[in-house]
Point group: C2
Chain length 121, copies 2
DNA sequence: AACTTATATGCAACTTAGTCGCAATGGCAA
DNA sequence: TTGCCATTGCGACTAAGTTGCATATAAGTT
């Protein structure tokens, strides 16, 4: 979907900060922290955080906290688990995993931690 | 195992702070943050954090970060997943779950987030 | 195109979990 | 009992994220 349509659908103003963020998140395939992109983007950190929070409450992004005390954001497409490597700190999207069910619970997010494929060789 | 043996096995000094912590962690069944117990314990926060870090590197405790930006520690017994409720923020140990395997990866930790049994009613 | 107004932004000050340097203390082995 | 080194308390610090406030701007209205 186009950046403009995403925004209009949610009754938000299409500012240049929001354009920048949505293009960046649309382009990246991995979850991103503020630290990751602060040098690439042209906005204050308050603007970044206020926008990603709004995007999250509008179901455009979702987020989780990694090992490094930073919050990572990514486009909300189809639900999938994440693997965080304790060794290289890389975050992987596990897109081919069948979803796990727990009787009586609703699961929105799954995080696995351990040693990733390449560190495990 | 006795507090004293745990400590001696790792060549650490059995200080009163360490006795307090190990008894507390042995007694509690749930993961604990510093905030949770700071009023019950008789030590500086630096002492708490230095000790739990050491215990973790000695494989006496393990830890993970929850939704509330706090780190939770618990006795390392048998590996199990945790469920964090987005609604009531309660942390549950999922002790009856069969472990999940991922070809090529080593999984040390699994965290599920969503809505817990009692909030889901 | 100019006017209006609610929303969004930049900036600086703030919050808060956790860390660190350092001088004083205290386990424990000799 | 002595002495050494790990451990402790304390205060200062760090860093991710938040907030208040004055200013700027998107977008609808005239
Ligand atoms: Mn992902
Ligand atoms: Mn547990
Ligand atoms: Zn790795
Ligand atoms: Zn709940």
């Amino acid at each position: 979907m186009q950046t403009k349509n995403i925004i209009e659908e949610k009754n938000l103003k299409l500012t240049s900060a929001r354009k920048e963020l949505l293009e960046l998140f649309g382009f990246e395939k991995k979850p991103i922290s503020f630290e990751d992109i602060k040098h690439k983007i042209n906005m204050d950190k308050a603007t970044f955080y206020r926008n990603v929070s709004k995007f999250e409450s509008e179901s455009i992004l979702n987020s989780f906290e990694s090992n490094d005390k930073k919050r990572y954001y990514e486009i909300q497409d189809f639900p999938h688990a994440h693997f965080i490597c304790n060794n290289c700190n890389n975050i992987e999207c596990l897109e081919n995993m069948e979803p796990i069910k727990l009787e009586g619970y609703k699961i929105f997010d799954m995080i696995f931690k351990g040693i990733c494929k390449s560190c495990n060789k």
